[in-house]
Subunit: 309 residues, 2 copies
């Protein structure tokens, strides 16, 4: 499994862990009927750009998304920290970031560069390519950087509700997955883990029976044509299976800044992110949520299911 194949998968289907000791579905543990359709609508990539922050804050404020995650090494982190402090109810996690993927706009690590040398390209930025990152990163240096990102967020006044992984780098091999899982355990945070059918079990060796595992994850990917955007998303809502799912979106305003950030990269580019924003804030999308009896939930609710401190 490469990061690329995960990242660009049209539909990221996941399978439930056996309910194990709990003997209840995740939906039931949250207080819903076993067949409830629960959905986290999740905005990725906060702090990457002002246009991303503004669109994502607007969607959070309007309840168009129920959760989001932010990139600590990016320069607009302070803008997101200000939002987090003004909106303590907002469900904000950390989009742990080990790549710097754009062409003209780059960032480095949070940890001292000489302590995370395996994460860096020749110019001292994080690698642009997820595959290159996965091949080069030493897991102990990934853990150092991930811890530094968590600690930086805490120092900035952000109290994250969950952890996930930018460009799926930490989902790509067992030693990196273990970094995500171990740090999440240490900070008592729930985390996104993609349970892909057929993946060898050592990928999930660090998981504990008490971990909360989503039932399904969905994310738009390049084969979708711009004209089919609303159809793609409403199709997901119409066919959403029972259980707890996450729908990952990328929200930004298609302006000069965002066009420059995402230059030469239409996939997940500026117009793409504007389309995502337009859909999740549309009356049609809202109506599809209602008609299909979908209840929005948050990572904070999932975090309450974890063993106490």
């Amino acid at each position: 499994m490469s990061a690329h194949s995960v990242f660009t998968a049209y539909l990221l289907a996941a399978v439930s862990l056996p309910a194990g000791a709990q003997n209840q579905t995740l939906a039931q543990r949250l207080g819903y009927p076993a067949d409830a359709k629960l959905l986290i609508i999740h905005a990725d990539d906060l702090a990457v750009a002002h246009a991303q922050d503004m669109a994502s804050f607007e969607a959070l404020n309007r309840g168009a998304v129920s959760s989001a995650s932010l990139m600590v090494p990016c320069p607009w982190l302070t803008e997101v920290a200000d939002y987090a402090k003004a909106h303590p109810e907002a469900d904000l996690g950390l989009h742990l970031t080990l790549t710097s993927e754009w062409k003209t706009y780059k960032w480095g690590p949070v940890a001292p560069r000489d302590q995370v040398a395996s994460l860096l390209d020749p110019h001292g930025y994080l690698f642009a390519d997820a595959g290159e990152a996965v091949r080069n990163i030493k897991p102990e240096e990934a853990e150092r950087e991930v811890r530094a990102q968590v600690e930086t967020a805490l120092k900035m006044g952000i109290r994250p509700t969950h952890l996930d992984s930018h460009m799926a780098v930490l989902f790509d091999k067992p030693a990196l997955m273990a970094v995500l899982v171990n740090v999440a355990h240490e900070y008592h945070l729930p985390f996104l883990v993609l349970k892909i059918p057929g993946v060898p079990p050592d990928m999930y060796a660090a998981l504990k029976p008490t971990d909360v595992i989503l039932d399904h994850v969905f994310m738009a990917a390049p084969p979708i044509k711009p004209d089919d955007w609303l159809d793609y998303y409403t199709h997901i809502l119409k066919t959403l299976p029972p259980g707890v799912s996450e729908l990952i979106v990328h929200l930004a305003y298609d302006d000069a800044e965002m066009q420059a950030v995402t230059i030469d990269h239409p996939d997940y580019g500026s117009a793409w992110r504007q389309r995502d924003f337009n859909v999740v804030t549309s009356a049609e999308f809202r109506k599809a949520l209602e008609e299909n009896n979908i209840t929005l939930v948050t990572w904070r609710e999932l975090g309450r299911l974890l063993p106490g401190l």
Copy 2:
């Protein structure tokens, strides 16, 4: 002398060093008559934001400014490096950066954070305030960071024509001035030094007789009202003394990104930078240059006066 007083000085008047061994004025050494009025129109702060880069590139391309300097720790450095490689004739220096002054948008050092700890605020960013930077920075760590910025620029394919100092931090005390001067000597680059009348001579102890010192430096500062912008700049041109002067401007488009970068800071803010762009690209400003017999020059020309390698 505080960094603040230097940075906000309405007019930064400088005095010539004695011509010394050269026995010629700087203008004469450049091949002009002794009474020629030579001017570097210099755009500061490239790489800080996309809107800054676009406005500055436009002004460079139109010959509205003759020189510019860029901030290596900022995320848009790659955009500037691409421009530099596409425009090898462009007169681009390094705006050595030891502060991160905006509220919602921040950057850290280029050197490993643990090697430049005295440069950093509690969140690991460069200090916002120039005075705080000057008080806290250990000169040996400033030198480490300055060297890392020069080396990073070179690795990115930028061949700087000169060095100067963002927010005048390196001009603020002798030990920091010595960092600028020593690194400039090592890389055989000319550098901006503000020779302020009345400053004790130890500030300039690192200078060599062969160094190129500008005769005058001008920069707009907060007392100027928006309606007086063109008048301020044309007044400088009308009264420009003979010799080699630099006029420092800050060019950006007043858009959503730049408004967010400079939020809550109208001085040198987004509208300010748009006004600077509007003036230097205006027909009136161009006419004032011609009517006052002002010749634009570059730091590259000044660098050719330095002793050879």
